[in-house]
Symmetry: C2
Subunit: 133 residues, 2 copies
């Protein structure tokens, strides 16, 4: 019996786990998703980002912090204005997680299919028996 993978999944994922917390957490807020959406169209200063929102600047800044913290957004201060940009790769973290889940799910479907096949074979066998009874 070959042990393909000795290390448990959990340790393989390592600190990625905590990271997922932050990425998903960051996107669980509509304001933050809107900011991400806006930044997908191109860089923007904190002020520009704030305009569409009926929210005090410091409140909005918090959101930006959270986004930066999650790795979804990067920013650089030039003079007195801070320019923000999306880090599109961070979205891939999520994609990866999603694909992993769907793979497990698909495998289970496969197993289920095999099981259903077995049931069908048995059913046929029974039918034959019944016919020849």
């Amino acid at each position: 019996m070959t042990r393909i993978r000795a290390t448990p999944i959990v340790s393989l994922m390592g600190n990625q786990l905590a990271h997922l917390d932050h990425v998903f957490g960051a996107l669980s807020d509509a304001t933050r998703r809107a900011i991400v959406m806006r930044l997908c169209e191109g860089k923007a200063s904190v002020g520009e980002l704030a305009k569409p929102f009926d929210m005090a600047l410091p409140s909005l800044m918090k959101h930006i912090r959270i986004l930066e913290n999650s790795g979804l957004v990067a920013s650089e201060k030039i003079g007195r204005v801070r320019m923000c940009s999306i880090e599109i790769e961070a979205l891939e973290t999520i994609e990866e997680w999603l694909t992993a889940q769907r793979e497990v799910w698909a495998q289970r479907l496969d197993r289920l299919e095999i099981y259903v096949e077995k049931l069908k074979r048995e059913e046929k066998a029974n039918a034959r028996k019944r016919r020849t009874r």
Copy 2:
């Protein structure tokens, strides 16, 4: 000028927005992601789900509630045991959002490419001018 879409995106997405809050929110917790992962392998009772966690049952139940609330998990009580299962379609909500973002991002890259092309053309023109000066 043809108004392709009169309704603003926000209203088109409708309650989907609030839904995204819940889906992303649900997945922002490691325990909950683990539950989803487990359920991708097949249905499980609350008790089975609880086993791997060093957590009181009511605490875990809360997580299940949150997952149900987000539409990621469904459950049905038969006798005294409640069986839970993933609703894989809920993950698609996220995929959709991600693709939408990446599309906007890609479009922006296209625009940027066009811009860079323009710059290159101008550069060439200048070079020609310089050569022939």
